[in-house]
Symmetry: D2
Subunit: 344 residues, 4 copies
């Protein structure tokens, strides 16, 4: 019953197999290898256009490098106040960006709304040189930290606002697969066709060992990124192994199959908890379930071996727990957890 994080899962067997295959013979380092070339083509196919691809070993690195690349040091990145970049990356975007500022906005269900963004961007007195920072990027997480997802129309509305103010739209896709698996659209639809300019495409949480990609939908905007990644310590020398992970992840839509399983487990968990009287506090749209449980029940569940984080407290003093499923989660685990919850 490990619901602590999708990071607690291991590596999908297909990806382990790909690593073993990549280990045959010699290959030039730093991305000058065949696997890397194939992965680049795969991303172009996936997104139905030429894209520039930079593989990096961590999601924090992907986000920070991407944001630094599209934001001058005096720029602001507008994001949800609970965004991973704002809360969980120890200031990486600020560091990589040379002192950029994150402007954190509220929003129900972990999502930024066009109305909130519009109001903030429209407050012209608070923007612009010499005294104020300049809006340079809007960053959204798909899926969000609350396990919810943006619909294409929502993304488009945010993109239009960002672009109208000269800002770039960045998508933190650490759980991109979980989001896409839920929507009946293409990867292109959910990104550049809706106005996303740069994407952190995550594979690690989805089943890789440590592989993320920064994708620029306009390859010209990637100019200089090769140097930025290297000096950021994020260019792997034996690059074929990160490429092999990503290749296997994308191959035959493995990533979407893994994501659908994780999502299905989250649905099952959410439904079960609802039946137990603990309706999730936010819509279950990806692979995360947030539920308000009595503290005693939390203790009991953890005593029984369940692993999860206590996220927050609600107004009535109950604990809001975060339950994350992964490609490795089994229906048995879910059922056992639900049964314990029902028993109260």
């Amino acid at each position: 019953m490990n619901f602590a994080s999708d990071n607690t899962a291991g590596v999908a067997p297909q990806i382990m197999a790909a690593l073993a295959r990549a280990n045959e013979g010699f290959a030039l380092g730093y991305g000058n290898d065949d696997v890397t070339r194939r992965v680049e083509r795969k991303f172009c196919d996936l997104f139905e256009r030429d894209v520039a691809v930079f593989l990096v070993p961590t999601g924090t690195g992907a986000n920070a490098l991407a944001l630094a690349h599209v934001t001058p040091p005096w720029g602001a990145v507008l994001c949800h106040q609970n965004a991973h970049i704002a809360v969980d990356e120890c200031g990486a975007p600020e560091f990589f960006g040379g002192g950029i500022k994150l402007v954190e906005l509220p929003g129900d269900n972990g999502k930024l709304t066009a109305d909130t963004l519009k109001a903030r961007l429209g407050n012209k007195a608070s923007w612009g040189p010499p005294h104020h920072v300049t809006p340079a990027a809007v960053s959204i997480s798909q899926a969000s930290e609350a396990g919810t997802i943006y619909r294409v129309a929502e993304i488009r509305a945010l993109a239009e606002l960002a672009h109208a103010h000269g800002a770039t739209l960045h998508m933190d896709g650490a759980r991109f697969g979980n989001a896409l698996a839920r929507l009946n659209v293409s990867a292109a639809d959910m990104t550049w066709k809706a106005g996303v300019d740069v994407l952190s495409f995550g594979a690690t949480k989805g089943g890789a060992m440590g592989a993320e990609a920064v994708i620029f939908f306009d390859p010209e905007r990637a100019d200089g990124m090769s140097a930025r990644r290297k000096r950021g310590g994020a260019l792997l020398s034996k690059h074929r192994f990160i490429a092999a992970q990503m290749e296997a992840f994308l191959d035959g839509d493995l990533w979407l199959r893994l994501a659908r399983h994780a999502n299905a487990m989250a649905d099952r968990l959410g439904d079960g908890l609802a039946q137990a009287g603990f309706t999730p506090v936010w819509p279950v749209e990806a692979n995360e379930v947030f539920a308000a449980l009595p503290a005693a029940l939390c203790d009991k569940l953890q005593a029984a071996g369940a692993m999860f984080y206590r996220w927050d407290a609600d107004a009535s003093g109950r604990v809001i727990v975060r339950l994350v499923t992964s490609f490795q989660t089994t229906a048995e685990e879910v059922e056992r957890f639900v049964a314990l919850a029902k028993a109260g």
Copy 2:
């Protein structure tokens, strides 16, 4: 005949096996796992003292994070003019250090000498606030970029100079194993007992997939490094896998056995070239051989499938080539290369 880099080699089978073992079940992310604890203990055992250990995926990241941690932004890092940190990391130390300055010094055989360092540190008019940067660190590469190694007494002399001027001694140990395998001393002897304060311990070139460690010999000096690593994008989420690589690398002295093989191949290559009339331009002390070859011979070797970099040109117009061996290099490859060289 791949002598392009030790990065072109793959991953040692023992390390691949360790990755497979680490892939069983769930484990908390970000280093909160058992394998990471074991690796930390292994490093303490190896160095015969308590050390603070931070695993990171790249050597550039290890060096840049280490140097940034011991150098204020107005500090200088004195190093050899051909050092990897000065030449090959695209300014990573400068970036991570908030604009530190690398002071690059000459030195035969790729090594910094105590005399040169003493003269530079002793030029007091060029140091100190408000107008000048302050010597904050001395960085040496063991083995050096020229494939040579510092003897313990040399390290000690440099350490004493550094410390006398208030500077920290950093060792870039991307090829630490190759160096140690050559000297009849312990890892402790070659580091903290000789005055090294912080070490970038490399495993990637030695046979891992992507695993380096920053080692602080005084754990108190590591205060804050956890945050620095995370915001540097260098904290892996599925951390057990980097730890598993390092554990297998250290286990049963695998790292030294792999290094001895690589070194032996370099010896054989150097001897063979010397017999062919191409005595290496620098002593062959680790796993690199530098030799001055006629351009026509270089062309012929490459046409025959040999891979290597043309490093420089000597005074007589011959090409100084760099030949790097690895744990994967075979005696057959070496012999074939030497035979071609002898044939001229």
Copy 3:
């Protein structure tokens, strides 16, 4: 009727005279002159203890250098959401601090309260490595951007909270004189005796040409600041002239006399507006008056030559204007403005 800013005022005649006196003969640059030594002693006298003093030409520079010096790059500076450092310095603290994060908190009357600070600091799950930034400094503005001032007990309460969490208390004293002139306490009482660790002491708004001081109450904490100031471009070469400004400002309590005049003009303006039916929206405690005026009245006042900024809008659609007085403001200007306001 220039109420746009205290920056629109000129330089007090006593300070101009001091500049002329300082212009006699030669003096070593960069602070190695007699005037600088005298200013340092004056600050020690003023604060009744040894302090370290760094003169810099701008308030933004003073704040950014001070905060960068007490905050590691992964640190957070907690401040009021309307603080100058958060809103009006174009990200200078983030830049000088290597990517530090400003955590902006609400508070009535432009002031941070101990309750708000306590709640935020006490939310332990949101702080600390590796994932979260670390509270490193609390910054308060005395007087605040709303023209209000912290009482000594309020400062002490905030200092105790900051210190209890390992954070430094910084005071942005761009209008330090205006605040101190209002309280019946000493400069020491309002600063280090109440727990302030580092102060940006402003003279420019008070009547100098361009002179601010960073004051460390514990001189040992200033270690390295000399280099930081220089590489920040904030060390003046003909330093005697900034020192001369500060000396004249401090001499014979000129600064407090100038501040008292500015404050008195603000009082008069606030009282007059209250009589006209426009009671200031925040207490008038320093040299700023904020009042909600009908837009038509604003237009009329500006047409009549009054200069001021439209700060915000209140719930009923009236314009909240900011009116700043200075040492140069005359009672006649104030009366004329009030008369126009009364005429409606």
Copy 4:
């Protein structure tokens, strides 16, 4: 006999008078004043084209802001090894540039030569991503730290090389007036017509209190500089006073008259020393004289009240002293110094 630095001089009386005039009445801050507008026009007239002008209080700030603006963080600035930016600014360019790298080149008489630059830029293996920094700017000092000046043809040759490699040509003109006064050319000839892209135009050493200007000859390249200056702490609030200094400096060619005087005093000093047997070690072309004196003579001169820096030692053990003249230097001082030197 103060030859320590042109920074030890005071402020020219015409500039003091201008400060007094600027002190009448109110003026908007931050450059929104009439004097600033006039200075901008004056610079356009001086350079015979539209230029973008940013006044800042220090030369270090001017250089660092200018270089940071034309260099990406992974860029290199090539300069003479004795350049002020490399030696005397405590790493300011590295800091403002987010970790840029200064590549320091040798050159006789303190000057960079086209041959040296060409050789370094032409070493293609050492440049470019991902591993190496990218040449982004070439910076020359006019006059140089050795008191020599570049002829227009020399500047043009360096500019052509820089531009051919995609790099910007920056001129550190802390002593721009001293250089221009010596050449029979216009300010335009010595800058943009010869290929200079961005200039740090100094007034402080020439006779101002603290006023420098960053000049972009292509105003479009200044985009974003307003924010960079502010967040660099270099935007003065009472900006009219820095503008007034610069206006008076430029007015009626005061700057050139002051520079001619300083140069003439240097000539006289150099000639006198040559007659005394101490021919200057570098050509006296601006307002600095470097001469090799016996240590005993140095002691005697300093005992007699002469102030100067001991710069270096020559091969025969004599002290190379730096003697700087300024607008304030008198013929009497020079003669007295020479007489002492002749007396030996």
